[in-house]
Symmetry: C2
Subunit: 442 residues, 2 copies
């Protein structure tokens, strides 16, 4: 994509309304624009990041054996009345009357609907387990939306639901998602730590929040420093091997990691040596929990058993904040100059910067490099405009692509281009072919 | 994907509520389930088709030079009040009050919002033209939703908007979308005919509906039979070549093609020889039109001109009914036994049918074929269950994958498998390797 054609309305000034760095940078980098309070439009740069995050989530759900569906945003209140949740849910639920004065709502979550779909479709223990997920927009009418896409009203979530014959089997499904979440966040360049969370009345200790460490996080977190040093989150796992999956989960749950909600100072002191105690702040990006037959019993989600009779299925739910992650990644990865995208979620692979567009030889060399980058399967943003070099560098630092390939008349005389790694600022002068080889190595 | 693991709740009976064939087949094939009136959940089979349709639309928009954004589903009424559309829009608009009693709405369309984004982002003629699109759920509160996803309340649309300096340039953008639509529908295996549509008060003849011929269509259509015989809809075009693009448009607009709204019997008789006059019914799957400065003038979408001063931009809008297409394709492509998917939108490439799962040799051969199909880059649905053969054939015909690869003990003794083309019913007995070669040829 040529910068001169790309719809990228970056801002020089920092918008006043933005309280946290990700919100400021997303506005300045032209990723999003507020449509109304807590509701955003995603412009091309932001949309690319959102799609990359979504695709990583999708691939890891599929790898764990989940199947994708898509439930609607608008649901009937009748469905929610069956379990009394229409009245019980707070003012965060957006309630709507349609033209026939029927009560509808913008789904804040989907337990009822997915349980209905399951109950009408699956009748036998032989068709279990079922892991179903969808990636859909939700609405939560926050009193005071803020922090940009981190706490917006309309937001994109992945919600998965598991259906199993009994607790033991439900735990195996839970473990699969636990591992899938480790992989999902690690692939995005994040260190997301699974922390014990409130498990509600069902118990069973099967409830974890996945938390990214960031100073601007909404929760105080306490954990063993081993989590910070461990670099095995993205470990490859055979999901068909229950023992291996359980082993990963046991390893990660054996270390202390809790948010303030569940924190126990005495246990922290007893279980974690002083020099390994980490206290900080974190952002929740995922939550998994087992809730047994809470929905399946009242909604009649039962399967026939091999020995005759029927049994209500055991369920769990597994959420990832897809649009929130765009902000969370920036909170975890930025510097004074702007965003520093991890490779896997970067909107483009590399910024190709033409230092002097008015110089025919320089532009010819850039055009050639652009064609070669594309031919190599890379997705470059080609800064081909006649802006001055300083403005180009500032903007490309702001939008944070992993690499910058800088071509100017002076370097060309010596047969070199400059390759800069955005994260470290490290620069080297190399031949164009060496630069291409470096970039295609990954 | 193994059938035994695939969430595919097909139905034996035809659901009573379904009035048209696509609705019946989508329910029977387990593609969708109604969540409430006119609102559907997409199950894995339907979701796969929806994603393929969406991806073809996306690729052709990108090829034409449009850039993808994503606007929210919920909009502020204030935005719509600026042009008086909040009050003028009928009861199809889903009106909502949020917790602060602010008027909101579920977007039935996006002219105001995209014009605002443009007006706040683009200031100079140098940044024109801009072609922006998004693929998002919309809501239209139909009095009597019916025909399944063909006339639902919540539906997925692609909406594009063009921003140009003047009429001449706007027409070039219009022509690009005209050609992009020809390509988009042709890639889905559809013959979508561009028909003159009402152009509203702006005039200029730049308004076309793209109509698929189908007996269950909502409109009467009248056109030259040359459209039916022409097989050049997917012609490759260089969008940078304005003359070539205009040439394609002129060729398709020189032939008579109108829906009943614009039909003129005398002109039809005068322009089209009797033996080439086609009358039938059609389904609208796309609509493109130019509307000048209708939104840009009141919303202040202006650019600075090279000679000084400012000018309001000329706009057009371009819609494709993405979820509707899933139904429309079935209306255009089915038989007594079920759906007949065109290759490009099929949920899987091929059904691999194990005729006797209890036979170890047969299952071993099927497992091997399954692995080979996947290794060849194909996406097979492997019917590995112990159902009887007749039920397997019926279900695979119902869900309509383009090919069926049937492996049974008798054929294996002779070293052959059966390859069936769903559309024609043609079968041949060939070696497994020959079948694979045929399938990978496309």
């Amino acid at each position: 994509m040529r910068r001169s054609r790309f719809f990228l309305p970056t801002l020089r000034e920092t918008p006043k309304e933005a309280e946290i760095v990700s919100h400021r940078l997303m506005l300045r980098a032209g990723m999003v624009r507020q449509a109304s309070a807590g509701i955003y439009s995603w412009l091309p740069l932001g949309f690319r990041v959102l799609k990359k995050i979504e695709q990583i989530v999708r691939e890891e759900e599929n790898r764990a054996g989940a199947q994708e569906v898509l439930m609607p945003t608008i649901q009937s209140a009748d469905l929610w009345r069956e379990l009394g949740r229409y009245d019980a849910y707070g003012p965060e639920m957006l309630r709507i009357k349609d033209r026939h004065e029927r009560d509808m709502l913008y789904g804040p979550t989907n337990e009822e609907l997915i349980t209905h779909i399951f109950a009408n479709s699956v009748k036998s223990y032989r068709d279990l387990p079922q892991l179903l997920y969808h990636i859909q927009w939700k609405f939560r009418d926050e009193v005071r939306p803020r922090f940009g896409v981190m706490r917006g009203r309309e937001f994109l979530m992945k919600d998965a639901y598991s259906f199993d014959l009994d607790f033991e089997s439900a735990r195996r499904s839970y473990y699969k998602f636990f591992v899938a979440y480790l992989r999902t966040f690690a692939r995005m360049g994040l260190k997301a730590i699974p922390m014990e969370a409130e498990s509600g009345p069902i118990g069973g200790n099967l409830s974890h929040e996945f938390i990214i460490l960031a100073d601007t996080g909404e929760s105080d977190v306490f954990c063993d420093r081993e989590f910070l040093e461990a670099d095995v989150l993205a470990k490859d796992v055979d999901y068909g091997d229950d023992v291996a999956v359980a082993g990963v989960v046991e390893r990660f749950t054996s270390l202390y990691a809790r948010t303030d909600e569940k924190h126990d100072g005495a246990a922290f002191a007893a279980e974690v040596p002083e020099d390994r105690r980490y206290e900080g702040r974190g952002i929740e990006v995922g939550h998994i929990f087992y809730f047994g037959t809470k929905y399946s019993a009242p909604l009649g989600a039962k399967v026939a058993l091999p020995e005759g009779g029927e049994s209500e299925v055991h369920m769990g739910s597994y959420g990832v904040g897809v649009s929130r992650l765009a902000g969370a990644i920036i909170e975890a990865s930025h510097d004074e100059a702007g965003i520093v995208w991890p490779d896997a979620v970067a909107p483009f692979d590399v910024a190709l910067i033409n230092l002097k567009a008015s110089d025919a030889a320089c532009t010819a060399a850039c055009d050639e490099a652009y064609a070669k980058l594309q031919a190599a399967g890379l997705d470059p943003l080609y800064e081909d405009s006649d802006e001055r070099a300083g403005a180009k560098f500032a903007e490309m630092d702001l939008i944070g692509l992993p690499w910058q390939l800088v071509i100017g008349p002076r370097g060309l005389q010596n047969g070199v281009v400059e390759l800069k790694r955005r994260a470290t600022g490290a620069r080297e002068e190399v031949s164009l072919d060496s630069a291409l080889a470096r970039l295609t190595d990954g």
